[in-house]
């Protein structure tokens, strides 16, 4: 390890513990702390409106979901095409309580942190269950198993009266220390809640990757037979990867339910699953910060494409419906371009930028 804890131009570690530090230098820690302060303070400094806060909250929720997806697909190498269904499990856990006990039941409105945690746990259980075929299946076959879960989930919600046949199930307004969280402060309140949860989960993943459980995931992804020979249990590792992904997804689903104050099936369809996968790919599979870059990039792209499609819809003849095709086309194109030219995702750009500053003033 470099003697200077503020500026380390190379990777010099003398102990294994040193390499496992969350922040390699004090500068890293300082920059991260400054960034955290910024994200917590900016809504208090700048004027915000409900629409922009809703967009930001949505991005943060997607980050939580993609953190989970990155664990199972990026770190453990198991393709999951049903991630939106796991998010849906979390959301419908909240919705089920609302359906049975009423949307203003105290458990929903006052004990909402417990509900969010419970949704995560239910998501974990479903995740682990769907991961069970991982004992026998690999690669595309396992991906199809997750796809079938997505289909079963959609069918169940769409046809069961209990789930209002996919139509919105309302969730009441929650209470905080100073009473009911009203309409005016709703989005800003959830911004802080989601942000805190995201930071906690982010650190959780960072820590997980420093433990043997985290290293197991990567070992199984790289070569499960070798991992087996080293004494790991590839099957159980895969199941627990799915369980973890389900937990993150469940938390994201519950937050979605509370943010929108209702749950409807259209937020958890196969299309959403593909979108989560696109976020993970674009952000950078198998990287922690890729889970943050991907959702932000895709959601912002979505907003821009929306605007373009709207203008295109005005200008092009309705019968051609080209504007409708613009969105899937753009997504497809972005994913293909990233896979072709930057398979390591935006996270790699971040790595290059960091390396530049780390090595500066040297070029190598």
């Amino acid at each position: 390890m470099s003697a200077n804890r503020w500026l380390a131009t190379g990777n010099y570690f003398t102990t294994y513990k040193e390499e496992q530090r969350i922040f390699l230098t004090h500068t890293d820690r300082l920059i991260f702390s400054f960034f955290l302060v910024c994200v917590f303070v900016w809504p208090l400094v700048f004027e915000t409106n409900n629409k922009s806060m809703l967009v930001v909250d949505n991005i943060l929720i997607a980050m939580i979901a993609v953190l989970g997806l990155n664990l199972v697909t990026g770190f453990a190498g198991l393709i999951s095409i049903g991630h939106a269904a796991f998010v849906g499990v979390g959301a419908y856990t909240v919705a089920s309580v609302s359906r049975v006990m009423g949307d203003d039941y105290i458990l929903l409105t006052h004990a909402w942190p417990a509900m969010i945690l419970a949704s995560g746990l239910v998501g974990a259980v479903f995740g682990a269950m769907v991961g069970l075929p991982a004992f026998r299946l690999k690669h595309l076959y396992l991906a199809i198993a997750t796809l079938s879960f997505q289909m079963i989930f959609q069918w169940t919600i769409n046809f069961m009266e209990f789930f209002n046949q996919g139509q919105t199930i309302f969730v009441g307004r929650i209470f905080w220390l100073n009473g009911e969280v009203g309409r005016n402060e709703h989005y800003i309140f959830w911004y802080y809640v989601i942000l805190i949860i995201l930071v906690l989960l982010g650190f959780m993943v960072r820590n997980l990757l420093r433990t043997r459980f985290g290293r197991c995931l990567i070992a199984v992804r790289d070569n499960d037979r070798a991992a087996d020979a080293m004494g790991m249990h590839p099957g159980l590792t895969k199941v627990y990867a799915f369980g973890l992904a389900g937990f993150f997804a469940g938390i994201a689903g519950a937050l979605h339910a509370y943010l929108y104050r209702g749950v409807g099936i259209e937020s958890f369809t196969l299309h959403e699953s593909i979108t989560y996968l696109a976020m993970a790919i674009v952000g950078g599979l198998g990287t922690l910060n890729g889970s943050f870059w991907g959702p932000a990039a895709i959601k912002m792209l979505e907003l821009q494409v929306e605007k373009i499609a709207e203008h295109a819809g005005d200008m092009m003849p309705a019968s051609m419906n080209l504007a409708t095709a613009l969105r899937p086309l753009t997504f497809g194109l972005v994913i293909v371009l990233f896979l072709m030219f930057e398979p390591r995702g935006i996270a790699n750009w971040w790595r290059i930028i960091r390396s530049y500053f780390k090595l500066w003033p040297f070029r190598y």
């Binding site: 409106n49 409900n50 629409k51 809703l54 967009v55 949505n58 769409n158 046949q165 996919g166 139509q167 919105t168 309302f170 309409r183 989005y187 929108y260 104050r261 209702g262 409807g264 259209e266 937020s267 929306e306 499609a309 709207e310 819809g313 005005d314 003849p317 309705a318 019968s319 419906n321 504007a323 409708t324 613009l326 969105r327």
Partner: protein
């Protein structure tokens, strides 16, 4: 000389200021409205002409100074038929200070119901789902609900069928939009409506309905009432025509008569099904351009004025959009006339008084628009149409659904 120059500057400034304020006074009020709908994505074939109808009518209101110097500014935004996006749009519209909101889909109208209540803002959606009105005070349906339309068709069957109790199948969209009226039709049958509901078919994305039609035929089904969108109906009609099942006249023995509610019909259905659409019975509360009327003429003139193509000009969804804009304009006009400030509350109150002598009769509908505290379905009257020679023609006179009051 210097003094004169110094005097000139303040005089000029004062003159400019007076002009500025005078111009502002003359500019009148701007009433902000908004519409979020599917211009792209699912159902955009209906959303597109609908948006044009709303846009054109408000342009017409402003261009012809229907509200004097006051103007209506209606922001129209695409939501791709997604409730999440509709919610985002709605929040944006609220930030802009809208006084009335026009929504579109059933899902988003149901999903945002709580927001409408909290914001106390009157909403006129393009969805006619009866469920929109449950636990809601601020949603106003433009015309009779899907339930009323479907039961109305069932009543027509019961009243005009010759022979034993007619056997009916319901062909519905697999969503709340499609399922909504099923329970109500069954309730009407239990309440004494002389029909037997043999089967309820929730269609998928089938490209062939042969098996379904053969099954219905084997069960003795004589009438199929559809509550969905045009394309699945077109597929069914084409298969029925190929199998030789389509009735040439209403209730033809041994054949099936096909019928449908508002979103199943229109010119798009004829374009999709071609000759197989012949003798399809359809109900809506709108007047059509295929039949001569003052409303149809005004609609075509409006479309021509703003350069719309023939397809949009003749679309019943274009009519639908115009009618909603007409209601919005009328209610603003009435509030203004009373000397009240146009805001959410006064518009809501005025909409609730749109009944009796104050009922509104737009030229685009077959009956008056009536709202009250207890009735938020606009035009209660329905007109039956039938495809005859490639166009929809009226069958009889406008009618009211009777059994809706009994269930």
């Amino acid at each position: 000389m210097r003094n004169h120059k110094m005097m000139f500057v303040p005089i000029l400034m004062s003159f400019i200021a007076v002009l500025f304020f005078a111009a502002n006074l003359q500019a009148g009020e701007v009433y902000k409205l908004a519409l979020s709908l599917a211009i792209t994505g699912p159902t955009s074939d209906a959303g597109n002409p609908y948006a044009k109808g709303v846009e054109d009518y408000f342009r017409f209101v402003n261009d012809t100074k229907m509200l004097g110097d006051d103007r209506i500014e209606c922001t129209i935004r695409d939501d791709q038929y997604k409730t999440d996006v509709t919610k985002r749009n709605f929040e944006d519209f609220l930030d802009q200070g809208i006084v009335l909101y026009l929504n579109y889909s059933t899902g988003s109208t149901m999903g945002l119901k709580r927001d409408f209540e909290e914001e106390k803002i009157a909403v006129i959606p393009a969805s006619f789902h009866a469920g929109n009105l449950v636990d809601s005070n601020y949603i106003f349906l433009p015309i009779a609900s899907y339930s009323e339309q479907t039961i109305g068709l069932a009543e027509y069957v019961a009243n005009n069928h010759k022979g034993d109790k007619p056997k009916v199948a319901l062909f519905v969209h697999p969503s709340a939009f499609g399922r909504g009226p099923v329970e109500d039709v069954e309730k009407a049958a239990k309440a004494g409506l002389n029909i037997e509901v043999v089967e309820v078919v929730e269609h998928g994305q089938d490209l062939d309905n042969t098996a379904m039609l053969k099954r219905l035929k084997s069960k003795g089904v004589q009438y199929v009432i559809s509550q969905t969108v045009q394309s699945p109906v077109a597929t069914m009609l084409k298969d029925a025509a190929r199998l030789g099942y389509t009735a040439k006249t209403f209730g033809e023995a041994g054949k099936i008569t096909f019928m449908g509610a508002h979103y199943t019909g229109g010119n798009d259905l004829i374009a999709l099904a071609g000759a197989a659409a012949e003798n399809f019975f359809w109900t809506t509360s709108y007047k059509l351009t295929s039949e001569k009327s003052a409303g149809a003429d005004a609609q075509l003139a409006l479309a021509a004025r703003y350069g719309r193509d023939e397809k949009a000009a003749n679309s019943h969804n274009y009519t639908n959009g115009i009618m909603v804009a007409q209601v919005a304009t009328e209610v603003i006009k009435r509030v203004k006339k009373q000397g009240l400030k146009v805001n959410r509350k006064t518009l809501y109150d005025e909409l609730n008084q749109m009944n009796g002598a104050k009922a509104f009769q737009p030229d685009t509908t077959v009956g008056p628009v009536t709202y009250s505290k207890t009735d938020h379905a606009g035009v209660d009257t329905l007109q039956l149409y039938r495809v005859d020679g490639g166009v929809f023609r009226s069958v009889g006179t406008p009618f009211l659904c009777e059994y809706i009051k009994k269930i």
